[in-house]
């Protein structure tokens, strides 16, 4: 009986909870010579807990795999500590302040736009990389202005371009987009609005019309938006949603009779948590992703065997192994670990400074062959980060929900990087001007601080 499991879980949670309340203590950082540390600003509660548990679970699972299977990276153990943020910026900052003086920090991985923004100044001072895989500030792609920020794999502009490329392919070629109509339904937040100009730009370029409709936060009512969409009769609806807005969009689409397979979700609308609450309405719904879901990939099999086999798996619910966020966490783990490895080849097999790891990220090149060697073939495509391209030309694929799981329904698609680069540079340069940041050159990028910078005062 499954109910039996419930009791000990609840009991344990309350026991923990009670234990917390009654005891008093403080923490000290235990140090060791050969450790590389990952401070994790995780979020396991609050409205976005589902994403947080998946992502940080995957990340930790991969770090565990490297430790258990390989004994770390070239003998350097990977360590981490978690601080709960609830996805709230000031708690993220608190965790940053708490953990920033820990020795051997490799990189920060907040998976939160707000927290990432609040850290840009701080980590730039500390010379420690800030990884915003799949999200983050688009113009931080420009490494000349943002030396320590890495929106790896996919920034919001590339996402936009890739979605349009996919829709183009569906209608029979980008040139067939002409005269078509696309509605973008976006979350009423700065995040949601960020890609408005890019959709306009692409609409102009390919000759389709685009109508962008806002859904106010949190988005649990979308009647009027979908009635407007029904009237507009678009070919496709792009869903740039967040949290509860996603399942509600899909359900409401069904209510107004809009077919789910003509809705394309972006990276924040592509997880199980976004479709499961929508039930059957979500069958056929398509979403972009940088990493395929499922647990058939060798690296996942090894995690199941080595990590979960040893009882060290991070996900409480094993059914979520191979879910979108879990796999994103694993891919994120691969990228971080490989960056450390790259840097170690240059600076030696020992604990590296943040700036050394930054160098590692700026030389992180994983071609499909290397990805396959890592056991991640088809999990993600490839990456090629350089000193001035911090996104690293990630490819995306599209997945379709069949009511139970996501299935990949497209090849790996490349966004139109060449088109976007000038816009990104313009924005980055404006930021540099406003903040009086001198543009970094390729030579400067090769200069590396080997001492860790601990700003304690």
């Amino acid at each position: 009986m499954k109910t039996i499991k419930l009791i000990p879980t609840v009991g344990r949670r309350f026991a923990l909870s009670a234990a917390l309340v009654i005891t008093v203590a403080g923490t000290t950082f235990q140090t060791s010579a050969d450790e590389q540390f990952f401070p994790l600003q995780s979020y396991r509660v609050g409205p976005y807990a589902a994403g947080g548990t998946g992502f940080f679970g995957g990340f930790i699972d991969y770090l565990n795999l490297i430790n258990i299977r390989d004994g770390g990276v070239n003998g350097v153990k990977l360590t981490w500590a978690e601080g709960e943020t609830q996805y709230e910026v000031e708690r993220g900052v608190e965790v940053y302040e708490r953990l920033k003086s820990h020795p051997g920090i490799a990189a920060w991985n907040p998976l939160s736009v707000g927290i990432a923004y609040a850290m840009i100044d701080r980590i730039t001072q500390d010379k420690t990389p800030l990884i915003t895989v799949n999200h983050g500030r688009t113009d931080s792609t420009d490494g000349a202005v943002f030396p320590y920020v890495f929106p790896l794999l996919l920034n919001p502009y590339s996402e936009t371009s890739a979605i349009i490329n996919y829709i183009g392919a569906k209608v029979g070629g980008l040139d067939r987009l002409k005269g078509k109509k696309i509605v973008v339904l976006y979350h009423g937040s700065p995040y949601g609005k960020e890609t408005i100009p890019i959709y306009e730009l692409l609409a102009q370029k390919y000759g389709f019309t685009v109508q962008q409709i806002e859904v106010p936060h949190p988005g649990n009512e979308q009647e009027s938006q979908w009635l407007t969409i029904r009237r507009a009769k678009p070919e496709y609806v792009v869903l740039r949603g967040w949290g509860v807005m996603n399942p509600v969009a899909i359900k409401t689409a069904q209510k107004v009779g809009f077919p789910a397979d003509h809705i394309v979700g972006n990276v924040w609308s592509n997880s199980e948590e976004d479709v499961i609450p929508a039930g059957d309405a979500a069958k056929g719904y398509v979403a972009i992703t940088t990493q395929a879901s499922g647990s058939q990939y060798p690296v996942l099999q090894e995690i199941i065997k080595t990590v979960y086999g040893a009882g060290k798996g991070n996900l409480e619910d094993k059914n979520r192994i191979g879910s979108v966020y879990h796999n994103l966490g694993i891919v994120n783990g691969i990228l971080n670990v490989e960056a450390v490895r790259v840097a170690q080849e240059k600076f030696g097999h020992h604990t590296l400074s943040g700036d050394e790891v930054r160098w590692g990220f700026e030389h992180l090149k994983l071609d499909p062959a290397r990805v396959e060697a890592l056991g991640a073939k088809n999990l993600f495509h490839s990456i090629n980060v350089t000193w001035d391209n911090h996104e690293g030309d990630g490819y995306v694929t599209f997945q379709q929900w069949d009511g139970k799981k996501w299935n990949v329904v497209s090849d790996w698609i490349a966004p139109d990087w060449a088109l976007l680069r000038p816009i990104i540079e313009k924005s980055a340069n404006a930021y540099a001007a406003e903040h009086k940041i001198p543009l970094r050159t390729a030579d400067e990028a090769e200069r590396v601080d080997t001492k860790p910078i601990v700003a304690n005062k």
Binding site: L16, A25, E88, G114, A118, S189, N456, K457
Partner: protein
């Protein structure tokens, strides 16, 4: 620890000693973590709570929209600073306070006709409207595609306050000045008018307290203080803010601070803020200490949620005057003849 004859100490000694520690001792012994993660947010939240306490604690007008006025203060200060080059930083803060004041008066207008819950709910309109407007019109965030604003560097008269200690001292000074003014205010006729309107609006009206003006004044002053607190939150603490950072939860947080700290008490705002800032940290330290690697930050946070909620109920039931009352009672026990602050 405390001298039983301490009652001989004059009343000003406490505050002066506190200031001496805040200005003299902490900057020497404190770590960057202390300033950046504890003291600066503590100061900004305390100031917001001082503002709300003027309105809710003293004047009895419940507002659930404090975060909106914080947001207005933050974004206004940012824009003054950005768009009026050469304007001294302090001036931007003051002007930002005035913008918050103006908005406070507008959203205070319903208070002339509404009371209690109806007013409380109507302040939610401010909460949602401001957040919407700041997100909607990207002019407010200088057309930043992400709607996020970055704080300028803090310098006054050529003196830079950009280190973590500097930001702390900057916030400290502003908070001390405003809290001192607030403390004076509540002891003036105007402050008593606030209390009169709160305790018995009709009686206040009958004896000639200008009730409507008093209410609007309470909204105005309170919004000013909260607006400046928002600017501090943005400039001295986070240094980059997005409208979503000033959501309903933040408003509730400020309400909780004044309930726990003590309604109608300027000191209470500081007590409450201290508890709300420090309490989660203690709990999380506890958690990681006790449970080490196995510790689940989710459980911890849920616990925190529950304890916070329970604390609020507890205070409302057992100590409606908040931590301040507890503190005073404690002091009374330790010092036979209390020096009244």
């Amino acid at each position: 620890m405390m001298n039983p004859n301490a009652s001989r100490f004059p009343a000003w000694l406490g505050p002066v000693a506190l200031l001496a520690v805040a200005y003299g001792v902490l900057p020497i012994v404190g770590s960057s973590y202390l300033f950046e993660a504890i003291l600066t947010p503590f100061l900004a939240l305390s100031l917001a709570a001082v503002g709300l306490n003027l309105l809710t604690g003293y004047a009895g007008q419940v507002s659930l929209g404090s975060a909106a006025f914080m947001a207005v203060g933050a974004f206004a200060a940012y824009n003054f600073n950005l768009r009026l080059p050469g304007l001294p930083l302090l001036m931007s803060l003051v002007l930002a306070g005035f913008v918050a004041t103006a908005l406070g008066v507008v959203f205070g207008l319903p208070s002339l006709r509404l009371r209690g819950f109806y007013l409380a709910v109507s302040t939610l309109a401010a909460q949602f409207f401001v957040q919407w407007a700041l997100t909607k019109f990207s002019w407010f965030s200088n057309n930043n595609p992400s709607g996020v604003i970055d704080a300028p560097s803090l310098s006054i008269f050529g003196l830079s306050f950009d280190s973590s200690i500097g930001r702390y001292l900057f916030a400290l000074t502003i908070v001390v000045v405003l809290a001192w003014l607030a403390q004076r205010l509540v002891n003036t006729q105007t402050g008593h008018n606030f209390i009169a309107v709160r305790d018995n609006e009709l009686a206040a009206k009958v004896i000639g307290v200008p009730v409507l003006r008093t209410k609007l004044l309470a909204f105005a002053i309170s919004s000013f203080v909260i607006g400046v607190a928002g600017a501090l939150w943005a400039f001295a603490y986070l240094r980059t803010v997005e409208p979503a950072g000033f959501n309903l939860d933040r408003s509730f947080q400020v309400v909780f601070i004044i309930i726990i700290g003590g309604l109608a008490s300027i000191r209470g705002a500081f007590f409450g803020a201290a508890l709300l800032v420090v309490f989660p940290l203690i709990l999380s330290r506890l958690g990681s200490f006790l449970l080490g690697d196995h510790f689940d930050s989710g459980v911890l946070d849920m616990t925190q949620h529950i304890v916070l909620g329970a604390l609020i109920i507890f205070f409302l039931i057992a100590e409606p005057d908040g931590l301040v009352a507890l503190w005073d009672r404690l002091k009374k026990r330790l010092l036979p003849i209390p020096n009244n602050p």
